[in-house]
Symmetry: C2
Subunit: 215 residues, 2 copies
């Protein structure tokens, strides 16, 4: 009996995903209709609804694959990095570089043109990553864990969006440095009088030079 997916079905889904991505790069997600997608993919109407319940389902299906991919990339990156238990933002450098490679796609997904579903899905994926990074570093529960996770994810998306919209030419390492500076030290690091910036208990003063080693 055929356990694997039918080749026709696989071909159709692939075509639909490709069409969705292509059209999202052109028109964004919200402005997209199922008609456009099946027209671009050259697929029949009921074929689409046989596979997905709508364009939102198709989008989520795509993110499902991305989720697996990212999870794997994170775990391998973790094994590579020597000090995973001391840096609550270990994910950011990898993510910024990944974003630089697939700038068009990231820009589409995040810059508002991706729609609420896309942004929410990305937030969920990032939340998982950050929660795992955070579980081994933070002990203080003065601020609820969830709040901190959402704070970091929001700051990361903000950085990413600002990068694409305002300074696309900047290297990922620079954006990563700014992101880490704000998230780790907040506004205190450069609001009026500035402190020297050395902290004996943590190594957060070293993220600027760390980036040069990786890049």
């Amino acid at each position: 009996m055929p356990r694997e997916i039918d080749r026709r079905a696989a071909r159709t889904r692939k075509a639909l995903h490709h069409a969705l991505l292509t059209l999202m790069l052109q028109k964004g997600y919200e402005a997209l209709s199922v008609q456009d997608i099946i027209d671009e993919a050259d697929v029949g109407r009921s074929t689409f609804y046989a596979h997905y319940t709508g364009k939102e389902d198709l989008l989520r299906s795509g993110f499902q694959m991305l989720r697996e991919e990212l999870r794997e990339a994170q775990s391998t990156a973790r094994e590579k990095a020597g000090v995973p238990h001391d840096d609550p933002l270990g994910f950011s450098a990898t993510m910024f570089e990944h974003a630089a490679r697939y700038a068009d796609h990231y820009r589409t997904m995040i810059g508002g043109r991706g729609g609420a579903v896309t942004e929410n899905e990305i937030r969920l994926i990032l939340s998982e990553v950050v929660r795992q990074e955070l579980s081994s570093t933070l002990q203080d529960d003065a601020i609820p864990r969830d709040f901190v996770v959402q704070f970091i994810v929001g700051a990361f998306l903000t950085a990413l969006n600002w990068w694409f919209e305002r300074k696309p030419g900047l290297p990922p390492s620079t954006v990563d440095a700014m992101f880490k500076s704000l998230v780790l030290d907040g506004l205190s690091s450069f609001s009026g009088g500035r402190r020297s910036g050395d902290h004996p208990t943590t190594n957060r003063g070293a993220h600027r030079s760390n980036l040069k080693d990786r890049g």
Copy 2:
């Protein structure tokens, strides 16, 4: 000649805005159709299109009024507060209390049910406020001004959303304290070993006790 808006038009627009707000509280923005709005407002179809180009235009029009209102509230709150030039987050306390008063509306606008347009509009309004607060406090340009503004706005919206979704019972002062702690000091304030928390150059260690004076 009639310089003021016709009473009929005013009545219609008021009814439409009210209907939009009512229906958004029930079904959210995306799920809303123009048909629903004009049905709720008891207005004819072309009447709607005579005033607005679509439901997005109606939404923006509503935010325009909110923008004016907020701008005014901010300026008066500034005159009241004695030390406007030393606190880059002076807006937050007022906003959190305002959000607590109109919790249902804020929840609708921000919690994803408001749609991308709503969130973007809110971001724009908040950006103006934060930019103005920031212009008198920050001097260092190690990180671009826009980036910092977006960072603060994003963190504020994150805090607001987390508050509504996870801990609706918390008083605004507590959420404000957590928000300020993260934005001003970042994760450093409670990642593993914690410092004493006094800074001679700024007064950012005092926001917890400040809130009790205001509340």
